[in-house]
Amino acid sequence: MANITFQGLGKVYPGGVRAVEGVDLEVEDGEFVVLVGPSGCGKSTTLRMVAGLEEITDGTLRIGDRVVNEVAGKDRDIAMVFQNYALYPHLSVRQNMAFPLERRRAHGGTVRRLIVPGYRRAAREEDQEIQAEVSRAAEVLGITDLLDRKPGALSGGQRQRVAVGRALVRRPAAFLFDEPLSNLDAKLRVEMRAELKALHDRLGATMLYVTHDQEEAMTLGDRLVVMDGGRVQQCAPPREVYEQPANRFVAGFVGTPSMNFLEGEVADGTMSIGEARLPLGDAAAGVPRAVVLGLRPDRLRLAEPEDPCALEATVAGVEDLGDRCDVRLQVGHAELVARRPAGELSRWTVARAAARVAFEPAEALLFEPGPHGARIH
């Protein structure tokens, strides 16, 4: 296993389109790092640069102690699992998994087996080693009974396991995953997610994982790298990204439903949003006049009479999700979402036009204006 070091990594496509810019990142040996962001944010391009499938136009990439900018993908000692599995349809599962080992064997020549003395025995021993490695990986992934099937006869989940197995047999310095679960149905995705996490814990391997699904990112990663516009917006453990987002983009991207934002002005520790006056206390100390208030949906609740931070709202709709409900609220021109326990469903329905929603000032986040405005509290 090895660490992966990005220093000012960038990618400019022919025609001048800049896909990735100035990525600085250190993936520690044995760490599970997830690159997450919306479509077109540069996460897949970054991963493909690590794999050697895209040329690096700026910066330096190291795997272990070696600079690999000019090294071909097959010589970087990495293995990649693709979104659509990329299994060779004409080969059985066993042959698919053995494929990368077959390409690297020292005694692979068919003709030399016949004419060079001693070569045949060495080749046979190599055959046995490859088969043992395939069996070991198949056992780890629970696909031993599928080894003689062709990929066309497998379900999506089984194909994904085989794709992981093909990466596993190589014992690479690092594993790369490019949205490997996005073709699976929701239930299977959750199962496979747990299996991948368990596999990482068992192998202690360096893993770099790309997804646009922030829930997947939160549950899998030791650290998240949130990207947008080709740049890293924040790199931190999942809990930190959720609770202390670096900027408004990260705050809005991570968490379901998305964080609510309200623009307003701060004066003397009080934030004014339309007619409402919200005494934010210490949170508003020393902040600029124009700010954006960020509130997580699960921190919004129906106000009690004594709540200092409360907003007049209209209930635009209530979505019953079984164990919880999402309440859509209209506050002035802004739309907010509150996520509440299912038991509160009737209270919100009754409240209708005269709802008052409240939050704890300590749980509010403040950002500078703009879509990527930095968090100031």
Binding site: A51, L53, K74, F82, N84, A86, Y88, P89, F99
Partner: protein
Amino acid sequence: MKRRGSRLLTLALLAAGAALMLFPLWWMLVVSLETPSNAGAATVEVGAISAFPADPQWSNWTEAMRAVGTVEWQGFLDALANSILVTFLTVTATVFSCSLVGYALARVRFRGRGLLFAVMLGTMMLPPQVTMIPMFLVFRELGWVDTILPLVVPAFFGNAFFIFMFRQFMAQVPEALVEAARLDGCAHLGVWWRVMLPMCRPVIAITAVFTFIFVWNDFLGPLIYLHSEEKATLAIALNSFRNQYGGLEDVQYLMALSLITMIPCILLFLVAQRQFIEGLGSGAVKG
């Protein structure tokens, strides 16, 4: 009821079409089993022979093989061996070269790829008659006349139509599969040989069958380049049943040998039928 009627009509049309296609074959078979006088009359008047010969001359078939060339049996066996050799080499070379060029045009990024592809497609517009004389002059300068080289070597340089088919098929293979093979340790040649070719079986089948039929039946090429009797192919050997004035002699032998010559083509089509149809459909429908 209406559906059954239209089905019957379809069947009737198909049966009529099949009968039209099979009639020449049937005529050849009947003539090949006739006596020399009846067979000769059949070339002048269709009604001179019956649909089923009263006394089939099965010995015509062995006599036809014996009568080829100046030495008994030798002429036929030489022609058969030459046809097999030329066809095998040409089919192998065509599949090899067309798939390789198709792969390069579909999967290798290089400057001028689009232009080269357009130029290659442009060569399909050239009728073979235009290149026939220049090609002959080149091969004569190389000293290749009266060898099989002019018939085989051009196949190693690809055929625009088959290159186009391979290119279209390979362009449909997901890019991730190629990338996975590259990360697994294959260079471009490895990707072509180990991943693309096994997946291109339908296109290989159609290329092989078309090339086989064309080369096996080719008359003009061997006629231009092969002059010695021992180097003739079967298509040229059939010509030995024409007399010096261009008329036909021993029509029953000519028909018998023609049928013998056709057997490999028919067998090949029957064996590769499924892949052949799959190959014709590929490229039209994205998988």
